[in-house]
Amino acid sequence: MSNVSETLIPKIGVITDVRIDTPDIKTFRVVTPDGVKPFDHRPGQCAMLSVPGVGEAMFSITSSPTNTEFMEFSIKKCGCVTDWLHQAEVGQQITIRGPYGTPFPVDDEFAGKNLLFIAGGVGLAPLRSVINYCRHYSDRYGKIDIVYGSRSKNDLLDYKEIVDEWTKDANVDVHLTIDNPQEGWDGHVGFVPNYVKELGFDTDKTVILCGPPIMIKFTLDGLCDLGFEKSQIYTTLEMRMKCGVGKCGRCNVGSKYICKDGPVFRFDELDELPDEY
């Protein structure tokens, strides 16, 4: 657990690299002023980043725990903090606190399983950490399938890493799709939920699903049609957050605090919560 004296009080982080992923998403590399990783984390956990005078916001740590040198965050421009970060340059200091939330059960429930990752848009950010963790320890898992879709080719996150690394990994099958036909794209065209049904996966897989609410809803229905149980499917939720430690009340759904008891949930667990997320 986190150090008592550090609750709410962040550390300094330095942006050491900014990668432009899509027209509205950039990936930021962050270390401490001494050049080391700010803290250890588990796949699926998040961190609060802030720019003093602008505000604080929660982001998934998109880099894998197996990366011991730095942390990465893929951030979509959509408000005060994210706008500010998007104009920040290398060398800029920010503040960082965490890690927050319950991680994906990579060492227990996922162990030995075939894994199916399904992501839409910026929803790949939280899954990238898990995917790279499972690729790193590939002997602990079965086969890995990744279905990832976006509006267009330009909106696909981590495209270079997907093409240069994931598709070349013998243990991994990558299935990309974009919403509409586009020049220079010879891959699949169509929405993620339909593509998942077309691909028709065996139900022996554990599924990790993340994306916009509408995509989650239809993909979940599709998976259930294919014969998957809700108890095989994991997701990560997004609620407004301030403290990140289960105290400010903002992310409360039923008796859970999404920041602390989540953001990772199994769909059968979500059925026990009121539909308010």
């Binding site: 005078g53 340059e89 609620m239 400010c248 039923g254 308010e276």
Partner: protein, 341 residues
């Protein structure tokens, strides 16, 4: 058990104040009682219920957390937490004492909130048995014994004397420093307790039942069609959350103080429309949903996380203060089915 005469209470408080700063309920010019710093000439209010609850002492309405200095691309974080002095809150009623427990179960579970913890560790609570409850009181519904409240020290006040009983080491240490308290037996206090219990039993809300609430009731109550009527006139003003001793939601904000940025937290309310607003959407679009959140949290979600303990202490403040006279009792009566008819 120790005692002093009613007319000596001020000299006892003066002595306690030498050990640690004392706050006590004092009548304002508007006739309402508020906690104020003790000073010569300040009288302990007869009104036992204070306008504002005592949660301010541990969880102030606004509290600075840290400061930042920025220069070019660099940031310096300044930890502004300072050593606190001990202080005494005198005259806290049983309901408000329980509210500290309820807040503890939020702020003192891992990861511990160091700001709250520092205040809590330095606070010494002197509770008072509540012999003159208001008609809006229903602490008994939540198992609180107003005749025998918790706290570091408990005080009973009869016509002639004030009785003092220490319950903790902290409390005993404090009472040891006071001259003019004489040892006595428990007879008068036992009599007073019995008297208070009788008064409590006769309160209009004495029979309010919690039977239909608590852990495991989420789905049944969440989907009730009663929420619509209950929430219909709610203004979303948040008064009920601000006066409530157990409401703990907060916001974190910043202001630029000229020479740097100060980050602070302040009370917030789940009754406000922007409370859960985010770039990805708004999970509670209507006032019905926000209203339901407040009461579901007190009556179902909180007990589910906290060994069945309810998130309401029956202090009655929200009954007295809501501009449209909506409140948790009406919610309990409406949702509580036949147990609360």
């Amino acid at each position: 058990m120790r005692k002093c005469l009613v007319e000596d209470i001020n000299s006892v408080l003066a002595q306690i104040n030498k050990a640690a700063k004392v706050y006590l309920p004092v009548d304002g010019t508007d006739g309402k009682a508020r906690f104020e710093e003790w000073a010569e000439g300040k009288e302990w209010s007869n009104a036992l219920n204070t306008e504002r609850s005592a949660k301010d002492f541990f969880f102030p309405q606004t509290e600075n957390l840290m400061e930042f200095k920025t220069e070019g691309k660099n940031i310096e974080i300044i930890d502004i937490r300072s050593d606190k002095d001990d202080f005494v809150i005198f005259g806290v009623r049983g309901c408000d004492v329980r509210s500290f427990d309820i807040l503890d179960r939020v702020f003192l579970v891992e990861p511990i909130d160091s700001f709250y913890k520092a205040r809590r560790e330095h606070g010494i609570i002197i509770s008072v048995a509540c012999g003159r409850p208001s008609e809006t009181c229903f602490c008994g519904a939540f198992g609180i014994d107003a005749s025998n409240p918790a706290g570091d020290v408990t005080v009973w006040r009869t016509k002639e004397a004030v009785y003092w009983q220490s319950n903790t080491d902290k409390g005993e240490e404090l009472l040891k420093k006071v001259e003019g308290l004489t040892d006595c037996d428990e007879a008068a206090v036992e009599e007073e307790k019995a008297k208070i219990k009788k008064i409590m039993d006769k309160l209009p809300l004495a029979n309010l039942s919690t039977e239909d609430f608590g852990a495991g009731k989420t789905m049944e109550l969440f989907d009730s069609d009663k929420w619509k009527d209950l929430s219909e006139s709610c203004l979303g003003c948040g008064t009920c959350t601000f006066v409530c001793p157990t409401c703990q939601c907060y916001d974190i904000k910043e202001f630029n103080a000229g020479k740097g940025v100060v980050r602070f937290r302040c009370w917030d309310s789940c009754m406000y429309s922007d409370f859960t607003q985010m770039s990805a959407g708004q999970p509670r679009l209507s006032q019905l949903e926000r209203f339901r959140q407040r009461f579901m949290h007190k009556l179902v979600y909180y007990p589910e996380r906290n060994d069945g303990i309810y998130g309401c202490v029956g202090c009655g403040r929200c009954l007295a203060k809501c501009p449209i006279s909506m409140n948790i009792v009406k919610v309990m009566k409406s949702l509580g089915g036949k147990d609360n008819e």
